[in-house]
C-alpha cells in the first residue's frame, strides 16, 4: 500500500496525543497528577497540539477537503466515520478538562471528566486501528494484533511524552519511570508479535482464487491490461524491497524502543535535573521518529489482493 505521509504523521502524532490524554485523564481521576501546577496542563497542551495537527493532516489527502464534515454521518457502518465522530466529541471534552485542570484546580468536576477523556481517547485510537484491521483485502492489516499495536504504541509514546514534560518541571517519579519502561517493553513485544504473525501467516488469496482458473493449473500473468501505471498500481501496488524492510524494522525497534528505554533508564538514575529532562526529550524524539518508520512500514509492507491481477504471487 502507498504510504501517504499525511496519514503516517496523523496516526503517529494523534496516537501519541491520545495516549498522553489517556494517561492525564486517569491521573486526574485517581488524583495522581504531578505536584508542579503547570506540569500536567503543559502535557495537556502538548497532547492537544499533537491531536489537532494530526487530525488536520489526515484531511490533507482528501480529494474534497471542504466536504470532510460529511464524514461524521455514517457512524453506523464505517470505522472512518466513527473515528471522526469520536475525535470531534473528544476535542471539546479534552479542552474543558484542561481548562479545569489549569484554572479551577480546587473544583472537582474536571477530575471526573478525566475518565471521559481517557475513555474517548482510547476509543478514538481503537477506531483508527479498526479502519485498517477491518479491511479483508489487506492481510497485513486484517490481523488480530493490528488493534493492540495501535493502542499500545499510542500509550507508550504518550507515556514517554508525559515523562519528558514532567521532567522539564522536575517531577519524574520512580514509579512513573518504571511504568514508562513497562509500556515500552509491552509495545515492542506486541509489535514484534505482529511482525512474526504477518511473516508466518498464510496468505488467503492467490492468482488461482483471484481468477478462478486454479482447476487448470498454476496461474501467472501473461500481460497487463495497460502498459503504464494506473491508480490501482500507484495506490495499492506499492512494495518495499524485502531487504530494506528488514533494516527498517531494525531502525524502528532501535529508535522507537531501545533508545527511549535507555534514555529513560539514564534519566531515572540521574534522578531529576536538566540532564534527566534532556535525556527524556531525546527519548521522545527518538520514539516518534521510530514510530514514523514503523508506521511507514505498516503501509509499505502491506499487500492488497488487487496486485494478484498484476502478477503478484500469494497475497
Amino acid at each position: 500500500m502507498h504510504p501517504a505521509y499525511s496519514v503516517i504523521y496523523f496516526t503517529v502524532a494523534s496516537g501519541a496525543g491520545y495516549g498522553l490524554l489517556f494517561l492525564l485523564g486517569l491521573q486526574a481521576a485517581f488524583d495522581l497528577l504531578p505536584a508542579h501546577p503547570w506540569s500536567a496542563p503543559a502535557s495537556g497542551l502538548f497532547a492537544l497540539a499533537l491531536v489537532t495537527t494530526g487530525l488536520l493532516s489526515s484531511t490533507l489527502h482528501l480529494g474534497h477537503k471542504l466536504r470532510a464534515w460529511r464524514a461524521v454521518t455514517q457512524w453506523r457502518s464505517s470505522w472512518l466515520s466513527r473515528e471522526g465522530v469520536l475525535a470531534l466529541i473528544g476535542l471539546p471534552v479534552a479542552v474543558a478538562f484542561l481548562y479545569g485542570m489549569a484554572f479551577q484546580n480546587d473544583a472537582g468536576w474536571w477530575r471526573a471528566l478525566g475518565l471521559a477523556v481517557a475513555m474517548l481517547s482510547a476509543l478514538t485510537v481503537h477506531a483508527t486501528a479498526m479502519i485498517y484491521a477491518s479491511l479483508k483485502p489487506i492481510r497485513h492489516w486484517n490481523n488480530p494484533l493490528t488493534v493492540p499495536v495501535y493502542l499500545l504504541l499510542a500509550l507508550a509514546s504518550g507515556g514517554v511524552a508525559d515523562l519528558a514534560i514532567d521532567a522539564a518541571f522536575g517531577d519524574v517519579t520512580l514509579a512513573s519511570g518504571l511504568l514508562g519502561l513497562a509500556l515500552l517493553a509491552a509495545g515492542i513485544a506486541v509489535k514484534r508479535g505482529y511482525w512474526r504473525s504477518v511473516d508466518a501467516g498464510e496468505a488467503p488469496s492467490s492468482p488461482e482464487s483471484a481468477t478462478g482458473l486454479g482447476a487448470i493449473g498454476r496461474v501467472r500473468l501473461l500481460e497487463r491490461p495497460h502498459t503504464e501505471e494506473n491508480y490501482l498500481l500507484k495506490e495499492m501496488g506499492y512494495q518495499v524491497a524485502r531487504r530494506h524492510a528488514r533494516r527498517l524494522r531494525l531502525v524502528a525497534q532501535v529508535l522507537g524502543f531501545l533508545v527511549p528505554a535507555l534514555a529513560l533508564a539514564a534519566a531515572l538514575m540521574l534522578s531529576g535535573g536538566v540532564l534527566a529532562a534532556l535525556a527524556l526529550f531525546l527519548a521522545l524524539a527518538a520514539m516518534l521518529a521510530g514510530l514514523l518508520v514503523e508506521r511507514w512500514l505498516f503501509f509499505a509492507e502491506a499487500k492488497h489482493t488487487v496486485t494478484l491481477y498484476y502478477g503478484a504471487g500469494r497475497v
Binding site: S78, P225, Y231, M236, V306
Partner: protein, 245 residues
C-alpha cells in the same frame, strides 16, 4: 446511507463473463470508456493522454493470464470490472454515504456530490474495481450502465451495459442473477459459473464461466519427430515423416 440493504435485493442485476469465448480484444473496455465518458459518472478523466505516461480512469480492464502447463495449459483473457457484491465492503466503509448499494437491483454506485475522495472504498475492494479520478477528486466505478439499462429513450434491445453490447464474441451476458429462471442464471448453472476470491466472502453478483477443457494432450498421436503436430494436419504429418527418416 452506507449500510447495506436489510433485505437481499429482489433483483440482482449483473454480468456473466465467459472466459472460454473472450478473445481479449478490449472492445468491452473501450466501449465502456466511450459510453461512460458521457454517462452519469462522466468524465472518466485521462491524465497526460497523448504524452509519455498516459493514465486515466477505466471501469473495465482486460488482463491476460496463463494457466496450467504444456499442452494442458491455456491462455485466458480476463476482463475485470465491478462485481456488484452482495457483501460490498466498499459501501460500508464509506464515511459520508456517497457509496451505496441499491435495494431494488443491487447495483453499487457512488454519489459523487457526497464523495470526499478519502479512497478507503478502493482499499476495501479486493478486486480493484474502483478508480480515483485525480482531476475530479472523487472515486469512480462501474455503474452497470444504469443510465442505459433503464433508459427508455433507447430501443429495448439496446438497454444493456455498453460492454455487453460491444462484445464481438458474445462473451458477456447481462441479466438478473436472483431469478433462477433467467438466461444468465441458467448459463451459470450449466457451465459451472464461479465467484472470484470466494474466500473473502464478498459474495459477488457477477459470475465467471470457466474455459472449456481441450481434449487431453495424450489424445494427440505422437509424431515421427516427437514435435507436436495436430492430427488433422495430414500434410504436415507427411512432411514430418519425410524429414524424420
Amino acid at each position: 446511507m452506507t449500510s447495506l440493504p436489510d433485505q437481499p435485493a429482489q433483483r440482482r442485476l449483473g454480468l456473466v463473463i465467459d472466459l472460454d469465448t473472450c478473445v481479449g480484444c478490449h472492445a468491452c473496455a473501450t466501449s465502456c470508456k466511450e459510453w461512460n465518458m458521457g454517462g452519469v459518472a462522466a468524465p472518466l478523466t485521462d491524465l497526460d493522454p497523448y504524452g509519455a505516461k498516459p493514465d486515466g480512469v477505466w471501469f473495465n480492464r482486460v488482463h491476460g493470464f496463463e494457466a496450467g502447463e504444456g499442452g494442458a495449459g491455456r491462455t485466458v483473457h480476463f476482463p475485470r470490472s465491478c462485481l456488484h457484491c452482495e457483501n460490498a465492503a466498499c459501501v460500508t466503509v464509506c464515511p459520508t454515504g456517497a457509496s451505496y448499494k441499491r435495494a431494488e437491483d443491487g447495483i453499487v454506485l457512488v454519489n459523487e456530490d457526497l464523495c470526499i475522495g478519502c479512497k478507503l472504498c478502493s482499499w476495501a475492494c479486493p478486486y480493484g474495481a474502483r478508480e480515483f479520478d485525480e482531476a475530479e477528486g472523487v472515486m469512480k466505478k462501474c455503474t452497470l450502465c444504469v443510465d442505459r439499462i433503464y433508459n427508455e429513450t433507447l430501443a429495448e434491445a439496446d438497454r444493456k451495459p455498453a460492454c455487453v453490447m460491444a462484445c464481438p464474441t458474445g462473451a458477456r451476458h447481462f441479466g438478473d442473477l436472483a431469478d433462477e429462471g433467467s438466461d444468465v442464471s441458467r448459463l451459470v448453472a450449466a457451465r459451472g459459473g464461479f465467484d472470484l476470491m470466494p474466500e473473502l466472502d464478498y459474495r459477488p453478483t457477477n459470475k465467471y464461466l470457466p474455459p472449456r477443457m481441450n481434449a487431453s494432450p495424450a489424445a494427440v498421436a505422437p509424431t515421427a519427430s516427437g514435435e507436436a503436430i495436430r492430427p488433422e494436419s495430414k500434410f504436415l504429418q507427411w512432411v514430418d515423416r519425410l524429414f524424420s527418416r
